[in-house]
Amino acid sequence: MADHLINLINVSKEYNGTKAIKNINLYVRKNEFITLLGPSGCGKTTTLRIIGGFEYPTDGQVLFEGTDLTVLPPYRRKINTVFQKYALFPHMNVFENIAFGLKIKKIEPKIIAEKVGRILELVCLSGYEKRSINSLSGGQQQRIAIARALVNEPEILLLDEPLGALDLQLRKDMQLELKAMQQRLGITFIYVTHDQEEALTMSDTIVVMNKGQIQQIGTPVDIYNEPKNAFVAGFIGESNIVSGIMLEDFLVEFAGCKVPCSDQGFATNEPVDVVIRPEDLKIVDETEGIFKGSVKYVTFKGVHYEMIVEAHGMDWMIHSTRLRPAGMKVGLKVDPYDIHIMKKVAANA
C-alpha cells in the first residue's frame, strides 16, 4: 500500500440500471505511466472520470494516498486532466488558458508569468502567450491542453484519449514526447486509449478492460506475450484464436489435429481457446506442416507480408517476410511454446 498513490476498491458505476463498470480493483503507483486500454464502451473513460471526480461511483471507494476522496469534487483534488477534445477556453488566449488554475490559487502574477513561460517552453510553444485558441492547429491545442494541466504540478495527470484527433505522424511524435515528459517530471500519468499500439509504446503498466471489467493488468511485454484470455489476445496485437480441447497436459487438439504444447493444469478434455500470434505460425513445405492448406490472400504491410492461409476449414493469419503467392500449396507449423492455451471465458464467447 505504501507506494500506492491511487486505490480503487470494488468500484462500480451504474447509469439507469446498467453497469458501466463492475467491481474495479486497481492501484496506481507513484511515477507510473498506467494505461487503461479497451474498446469503446468498455468503461475505461468512466474509470478515469471517477478518479478525476467528474462522476461519483455507485459503489466502492477511491483512495488517494490512503485518504478517501470518493465524493470529493474535482476542484478539490490534486489531479488534473487533459480532455479528449482539449476543452480549451475559447474566450481566453493561450496565456489565460494556462494561467487559469494558477490564478485561482492566487499565485503572484510574476510567478504565474514565469511558470507559464517555462511550461510553454516544455511543450515547445514559447512565444505563443498572446495567441487566440482558434488560431492554433490541433497539435498545438493539444500541447496547450497538456501545458494547462501540467502547470498546476498535479500529483496525477489524467489523459483521456488525448491524441485521438491527431494524424498518425503527429500522434507517434506526441507519444514519445508524452512519455519523455512523464519521465522527466516524475508525475503519475493515467492514460486512456483504445489504441493498443499506443498503449504498448508508452505504458509501464497496461490495464486491459472489456465490458466494464478488468481483463488483465501487466507490463506491455506480459500482456503481449502472456495474454490471460482470448479477449486480451485478440485485442492486443493480432491473433489466430480457435476453439480446442485440452486432451491432457502438454497436448491440445484443435483444427482436427493433436498438437503438442507447453501448457498444463487443465482438466482432461477441457474446452479451451487456442491463441497463436501470426508471426509464430511458420510456413513450410506442404509435407512438413502440421496443417496443410493453400495461400488465399497476400497483403504487403511494409516490414512483412500478411498472408491468409486456408487450412483445415479455417483461415489462418500469418506474418512473414518471405512471400508465398496466392494459390500456393503450403504447410503450417508452430512451436509448442508459441501456442497459448486459455480457459474459455463465457462473457466473450
Partner: protein
C-alpha cells in the same frame, strides 16, 4: 441553374411592406405641406429636439432599460434552471414559457388590467387579508410589469440556447483546474453566454422602447412613451410629417444599438441571433 425566381415573392413582399413604407417615411419626415406646395424642411426634426419630446424619449428609454434589466435578472437564472433540468422537464418548461405567446398580445395585456385594477383580483385579495388597496395600475410600475411580462421569453430563449450549446467539458475543465462552481460561473459560463445575453437585451429593449399598447393600456394615458407619441401624430393629430420624423429618429437609435451589439458579437464568435 439557380432558381432565383423563388426569391421573387419575398422581393415583392419586401418592396410592398418595407421599402415603399420606408421611402414614404423619409419623404414625409423631410417635407412639409402648405396648401398644394411641398417643400423640403428640417423643422420636424428640430421640433423633436424640444424638451417636451426629449422627455418622452428619455422616459421611453429609461422604462425600456429598467424592463430589460429586470428581464435579464429574472431571465438568466430561469435560462440556467431550464438548461440544468432533465430532458423530460425541459420540454414542459419551454412549452409553459412559450404558451402565453400563443395568445394575442392585446389579450394578454388586458388580462393584467383585471388583475391590477382597484377592484381587481390582487386588490380584492389584499382587502380580504385585511390590507389596504394599492394603486397598481396607470403608473410606471404597471408599464414596466407589462413590458417584463410580455418580453421576458425573448430574454430567456436566446440565453438558454447559448447555455445549452456550451461544451460540458469546458465546465469540467474549469472544475478540474480548481474552480469552484461560483468561479466557474464567473470565469467560464457567463463570458461564454454573453452572445445570448446580448441577443436577449436587443430583443427585449427594442420592442419595449417602441411599444405603445402597453403604456396605453397599463399606463392609462398617464405615461406617454415615444410609441404613443408616434401613434398620436398619425391617428389623432394627423401630423404625418412629424410622426414620420419621430419614427425615423427611433429607427436610427435602434440601428445604432444593433450596430454596437452585432459588432461585439462578431468579436465573440457566434452564438447570437444576428
Amino acid at each position: 441553374m439557380r432558381k432565383t425566381w423563388l426569391a421573387y415573392p419575398y422581393t415583392l413582399w419586401m418592396l410592398l411592406f418595407t421599402v415603399i413604407p420606408m421611402g414614404l417615411l423619409i419623404y414625409f419626415s423631410f417635407t412639409t405641406n402648405s396648401g398644394t406646395n411641398t417643400a423640403l424642411t428640417w423643422t420636424h426634426f428640430q421640433r423633436f429636439f424640444e424638451p417636451i419630446y426629449l422627455k418622452v424619449l428619455l422616459r421611453s428609454i429609461t422604462l425600456a432599460a429598467i424592463s430589460t434589466v429586470i428581464c435579464l435578472l429574472i431571465g438568466y437564472p430561469a435560462a440556467m434552471i431550464l438548461n440544468g433540468s432533465s430532458l423530460k422537464y425541459k420540454n414542459t418548461m419551454i412549452t409553459l414559457l412559450v404558451l402565453p405567446m400563443w395568445m394575442n398580445f392585446l389579450l394578454r395585456t388586458y388580462a393584467w388590467l383585471t388583475l391590477l385594477e382597484r377592484k381587481g383580483i390582487i386588490n380584492s385579495l389584499l382587502v380580504a387579508i385585511g390590507l389596504n388597496r394599492l394603486d397598481l395600475l396607470y403608473n410606471e410600475f404597471a408599464v414596466i410589469l407589462g413590458m417584463v411580462y410580455n418580453f421576458i421569453p425573448f430574454m430567456i430563449l436566446p440565453i438558454y440556447s447559448v447555455l445549452n450549446k456550451i461544451d460540458r467539458s469546458l465546465i469540467e475543465a474549469a472544475e478540474d483546474l480548481g474552480a469552484n462552481p461560483v468561479i466557474t460561473f464567473i470565469k467560464v459560463i457567463f463570458p461564454l453566454s454573453l452572445p445570448g445575453v446580448l441577443s436577449g437585451i436587443t430583443m427585449v429593449f427594442m420592442p419595449a422602447v417602441t411599444t405603445f399598447v402597453i403604456s396605453r393600456l397599463l399606463g392609462g394615458g398617464q405615461i406617454t412613451l415615444i410609441g404613443d407619441l408616434i401613434e398620436q401624430q398619425f391617428l389623432l393629430v394627423g401630423d404625418w410629417n412629424f410622426g414620420s420624423a419621430i419614427s425615423l429618429v427611433m429607427i436610427v437609435i435602434i440601428l445604432i444599438t444593433m450596430g454596437f451589439t452585432s459588432k461585439y458579437e462578431r468579436e465573440q464568435t457566434g452564438g447570437g441571433l444576428w
